[in-house]
Amino acid sequence: MSRSLENEHGMTGSAIALRKAYEVRSLRFRYHPFGQGAADWVLNGLTFDIEAGEILGIVGPNGSGKTSLLKLLVKVLRPDDGDLALFGRDLGAMPQVEVARTVAFVPQESPQVFSFTVMETVLMGRYPHHHGQTWSAGFGWESAEDLSIAEQAMQYTDLTHLAGRSVMDLSGGERQRCMIARALAQAPQILLLDEPTAFLDLQHQMEICAIVRRLKEERGLTVVLVSHDLNLASQYCDRILMLKAGALFRLGPPHEVIDVDVLRAVYGCDVLIDRHPESGVPRVTMPQYRSTKSFDDRS
């Protein structure tokens, strides 16, 4: 059982970097709604690797299977077909609690209807590390170690001053940081984020992105994030995976994926792409509105 925030394999950063965090082979998935037949394939034959220590952005149009892919990676959903390996181990054969000690998942929306405090919420991330001791898994108290790990996670996300606040009273940005802190308390090696910056204003978006970058650089965490924001993905991700209708369209560094032709093929619209003034990564801009031909004809 992992006893600190350090990765439990005790590897150095460089050794980790050579490993594959995930190996995904011909992955197929569809939902099976209750009382209805199987729906269409959400993901149809995905094959790719996620390197340990990288930030991978998953982008694509609405309904292209981004969130489903993320949930498959943390075993919240089960694939219909294909193989998923987590650090070389078959994900399907791993108990859920072991997955939870390696992978942390922050869903897009986490509405809380009960007045748990921030500290209590962050401490819930320690749950997978209590499994096994049957009584303390269901009842029991937090150990000094749990508290110190939760406190570090809150410090990391700048939540310490809100520790006693109810999560229901937090702003959107604070709640998102609270959920990331909860995920960090799991002491994971891989962090999966679903739309971490959706509904956040500019300042809070930058905060979340800074936290993600820091996690990679200081802790060697592998981060997989789903985003609709192509510029954010371009700026903060090492590689970008572009999904189109459940299939992998392009996977590579931002300058290979954020491309006029790729975006036209995937999103069906033309955009302008130039360079970020500081980093030089591709930057997407919507073109100016032009009236349609029929409108022109009439005038």
Binding site: L5, Q96, P107, V113, F116, H130, F139, E145, M154
Partner: protein, 383 residues
């Protein structure tokens, strides 16, 4: 690459340098100090639970004095001491007051304590599972499902046989489970059950079941149907001590098993997917808790009928005072629920003395308006 974990550091400096800028939110007064202050510890658990246990015992001694005939505290202690010394509850030795106290009031109060504790606990766990603070076995139709099962058993004549004590709770369990399966299926297809769907499901289940119950009572012999109606409204009647003992073992066993899920209940309030990603086999845990809830509700309904709103009012009040952590919320709600029902039942016994009001009427009159208040004025919190 890693942050040093120093278990000895009890508090963290809030001014720690961070690349993330402070949002400018002033820390809540009095909360900014020690971070660990907001965490439930064994010590805090005991400092809350011990007074609650003492208060429950004191309330038993207080409520037992009230009734058609006033029995003063001194006399109560006398009689209790006598019974404990001799182990005899014969009327020659303890007098009429003693018989009233030992064979009528005390078992009825203890039954109220048990029933209230169970209803409040089931309310707590249903609220957590459905992620909805208005869930309650009565509102969701679990109680009326259980009542239907029990009424059916009474109609078939099982109620009057020696099997009653063991079979009636099981019939209640089957009926309660039926309601829970419907609610569970609805929750499954919606993800999180929105408040209106939940209430609608409860209203529909309740009206179907009460129609069936009314049909059953209408075809019963008149003398039996009157008793059934009184039971349905929610009444506590003094049980025999062996029956009380069996019930107590059964129900405290169930509560203990629920308590073992307290930490998982906490995590489940984050949502199904978050809970799974934290290593909880959610389907398995939920099935177990729903089964336990139906078992407990079935047993409670079979002895006391439909006592409403305890499972919603009490967890709400306790959550406001003690926070949402189920490790404390669940046992504290159980005790507060028990005390609440003891007080309500004492009122039911004494308000119109010598006549009695069914205690279910009192809890409904107290809980119903509270429910409406939550639904109308606090709906922003949970819709």
């Amino acid at each position: 690459m890693h942050l040093s974990a120093d278990p000895s550091s009890g508090s963290v400096q809030p001014e720690q340098p961070s690349i993330v800028k402070d949002l400018g939110v002033a820390p809540a007064p009095g909360r900014a100090g020690k971070v660990s202050a907001s965490v439930l510890t064994a010590r805090r658990w005991i400092t809350v639970m011990a007074p609650l246990v003492g208060l429950s015992a004191a309330l038993v001694l207080l409520c037992v004095q009230f009734g058609t005939q006033w029995i003063g505290l001194g006399q109560v202690i006398d009689i209790l001491g006598h019974v404990l010394r001799d182990g005899s509850v014969e009327s020659e030795q303890i007098g009429t007051a003693g018989v009233i106290l030992i064979q009528v009031r005390l078992p009825r109060l203890l039954l109220g304590l048990l029933v209230g504790a169970c209803l409040a606990s089931v309310g707590v766990v249903l609220q957590a599972l459905l992620r909805n603070p208005l869930a309650d076995p009565y509102v969701l139709g679990v109680s009326s499902g259980a009542a239907l099962g029990v009424a059916l058993a009474i109609l078939l004549g099982i109620g009057s046989t020696f099997l009653a004590l063991s079979v009636l709770p099981l019939c209640g369990f089957a009926g309660g489970l039926l309601s829970l399966v419907v609610v569970y299926r609805m929750a499954l297809s919606y993800g999180r059950l929105p408040i209106h769907s939940l209430l609608l499901a409860g209203v529909i289940l309740n009206s179907i079941f009460s129609a069936l119950i009314m049909f059953i009572t209408s075809i019963m012999e008149p003398n039996r149907s009157a008793g059934t109606m009184a039971w349905l409204m929610g009444t506590l009647t003094a049980p025999s001590y062996p029956a009380l003992g069996i019930l107590a073992c059964y129900l405290t066993g169930g509560l203990f098993l629920l308590l073992r899920q307290a930490r998982r209940l906490n995590v489940l309030t984050l949502g199904e997917e978050s809970a799974r990603s934290l290593g909880i086999e959610t389907e398995q845990v939920k099935r177990q808790i729903y089964l336990l809830s139906a078992l407990i509700t079935g047993a409670v309904v079979s002895v006391s009928g439909m006592i409403g709103f305890v499972g919603m009012v009490i967890p709400h009040a306790v959550r406001l005072m003690l926070g949402a952590d189920h490790r404390l919320l669940l046992p504290a709600s159980a005790l507060v629920g028990g005390m609440y029902l003891m007080i309500a039942d004492t009122m039911a016994r004494t308000l119109l003395t010598p006549a009695e009001i069914p205690v279910g009427i009192i809890t409904a009159l107290a809980g119903g308006p509270f429910f409406i208040y939550l639904l109308v004025w606090r709906k922003d919190r949970f819709t």
